[in-house]
């Protein structure tokens, strides 16, 4: 991109680092007046060399490193890694473990989607929505804490199963919590999908189309909002999803058409949240008795894994799309190679194609649409092509702009 800066005669200012609430990612936007004509994205501030240090950990330790790739999808990284190691060793986890895996995975999806909804509310200046969703979200965090003992980074997956059982007593409490949660989420759905402000600010914003989605290989809810019924849980039947008869939701199932825009993305995520609650309930009800792990102790698993050879992948549908973990083993207690493919990389980069044509005030909504972990704009450089002006604006300024637009479109309410 630096060539284009040179063409425009603009040098890149390295201004103050500005993650506001969020993680560092840079969106750069070129504008003509209020209209965005071009955008670019930079990554790299969070680079911790995880795959490199992973090669120094043994098979058990690496699970807890994988969990800390991303705190929001901690299960979604730990589980595919465990899966990959299991397929290296040719081990099948017991049925009960598979059901518990569904419970934890779906609870994580609920908390992640709720979090996203709150962020969307915040970006369009609908802070009531932020506080409502985060209020509801606390119930999921309680459920996760009840199962695993921690609110985030639950350390539940292990090679050959899960680490903690869901006892009868816990199951009853969970089922009660789920009823509560379902009520909360249904209220939220009714607010979000019909509220005038949400409609005005999300319909037609960040519009992809089916061809573009296929060409860019969009993942997760971003693909499903374009009507592509693609979901690892459905296609691969990982864990117990096959038994539970899972079918992915696309936008037309919820709002009647595949809008491919931020509104469809919202609709898909809200519907998935409700679907996840039902999945958790089904999994809890149908959970077979039995052991929760194929190995009595982690050390046994480690010893077995140290004899494995070859390569394997593990796949899982994280809240944001398909996560792939690749491992290669060479009869050692450490992996020879470990590679992670996370969906956000694809989804976030795809926004480059949809920025042009929108107003600056819509930029934060488009940036938030793929749920880039937490919608993260480090800093945007606005280059006004008409006036040849350039300004560096921060996320706070963009949010402010977005809020002003919300006020305008709503009139003086």
């Amino acid at each position: 991109m630096s060539e284009e800066y040179r063409e425009l005669g603009v040098s890149i200012p390295i201004g103050p680092f500005h993650p506001a609430l969020k993680e560092p990612i840079g969106f750069r936007i070129w504008v003509e007046g209020e209209k965005i004509v071009k955008a670019d994205i930079r990554f790299g501030h969070n680079y911790r060399g995880i795959e490199l240090i992973g090669a120094r950990r043994n098979w058990i330790q690496i699970l807890y490193l994988a969990e800390r790739i991303c705190g929001i999808c901690s299960w979604s990284h730990q589980f595919p890694l465990a899966q990959a190691i299991e397929s290296l060793m040719d081990v099948r986890p017991p049925d009960r473990a598979n059901y518990i895996r569904v419970v934890v995975g779906e609870l994580e999806r609920i908390h992640s989607h709720m979090l996203w909804l709150g962020v969307l509310g915040h970006e369009i200046g609908f802070d009531t929505l932020l506080h409502l969703t985060w209020g509801v979200r606390e119930k999921v965090m309680d459920a996760l804490e009840l199962i695993s003992g921690n609110r985030v980074n639950y350390a539940m997956a292990t090679i050959g199963g899960v680490r903690r059982d869901i006892t009868e007593a816990k199951r009853d409490i969970l089922l009660r919590k789920l009823d509560d949660l379902l009520k909360g989420v249904e209220t939220l759905r009714d607010i979000v999908l019909t509220h005038k402000l949400v409609l005005l600010r999300t319909e037609g914003v960040g519009r992809y189309d089916r061809e573009l989605a296929l060409r860019l290989c969009l993942q997760g809810p971003m693909a499903r909002m374009c009507g592509i019924r693609k979901d690892v849980r459905q296609d691969e039947g990982v864990a117990a999803y096959g038994d539970l008869g899972f079918r992915a939701i696309v936008a037309r199932d919820v709002v009647g058409k595949d809008g491919c825009d931020a509104y469809s993305a919202t609709a898909v995520r809200v519907a998935e949240t409700i679907q996840s609650i039902n999945l958790v309930r089904d999994a809890l009800m149908e959970m077979p008795p039995g052991p929760i792990s194929a190995f009595p102790k982690p050390i046994v698993a480690l010893t077995r894994a140290s004899k494995a050879e070859g390569e394997a992948i593990g796949r899982y549908e994280a809240p944001r799309g398909e996560v792939i973990h690749y491992v290669r083993a060479a009869k050692s207690d450490k992996p020879k190679r470990w590679k992670v493919r996370a969906p956000s990389l694809i989804n976030v980069y795809s926004t480059k194609w949809v920025f042009p044509g929108h107003q600056i005030a819509d930029a934060v909504v488009i940036a938030a649409q793929p749920d880039p972990c937490i919608a993260c704009t480090e800093r945007a450089l606005i280059v006004d092509l008409d006036r040849g002006e350039r300004r560096v604006v921060d996320h706070a300024y963009l949010t402010e702009l977005s809020r002003r637009k919300s006020k305008e479109v709503m009139g003086d309410v």
Binding site: P16, E23, R68, I72, I374, D394
Partner: protein, 139 residues
């Protein structure tokens, strides 16, 4: 009651993620939302370090972030306090042996309050911020 003694103003907080796993960051956000409600202490998250009294840092400080974090610290008006959230800030947590992280962050900016945990609970984060407030009031 004890709190009343030293809450004489609303502490504004700037949040800086220096490469952590995000879990600490969502817990910091959770501390601001209805269940924990940091706003009852006047705590407000601001978008610029120039408006902030307290810097809340999470993450193991990746190499790319060191200079920027220092600059952000310098931009804050005095008196100021730094709250380090999570064990990443103390020794790098699971990332301790990565060549790209430079934890502990106290090598780069002075830290007043450490909140241990991976991630710590929102209550603990609130408590830490209030501890930092005490320091601000004393100065």
């Amino acid at each position: 009651m004890g709190l009343q003694r030293f809450i004489k103003r609303s502490p504004w907080v700037f949040h800086l993620n220096t490469g952590g796993c995000n879990a600490c960051d969502i817990e910091i956000l959770a501390a601001l939302t209805p269940r924990y409600d940091a706003e009852r202490f006047g705590v407000k998250l601001v978008g610029s370090p120039r408006h902030a009294d307290i810097l809340v840092v999470s993450g193991p400080m990746t190499r790319k972030d060191v200079e920027k974090a220092k600059r952000i610290y310098e931009q804050m008006p005095s008196p100021k306090a730094v709250v380090a959230v999570g064990v990443c800030t103390m020794g790098g947590s699971v990332f301790h042996d990565s060549p790209f992280v430079t934890a502990p962050i106290s090598d780069h900016i002075p830290v007043d309050v450490y909140i241990p945990g991976c991630p710590p609970r929102p209550e603990a984060i609130l408590h830490g911020i209030l501890e930092a407030l005490e320091k601000l009031e004393v100065e």
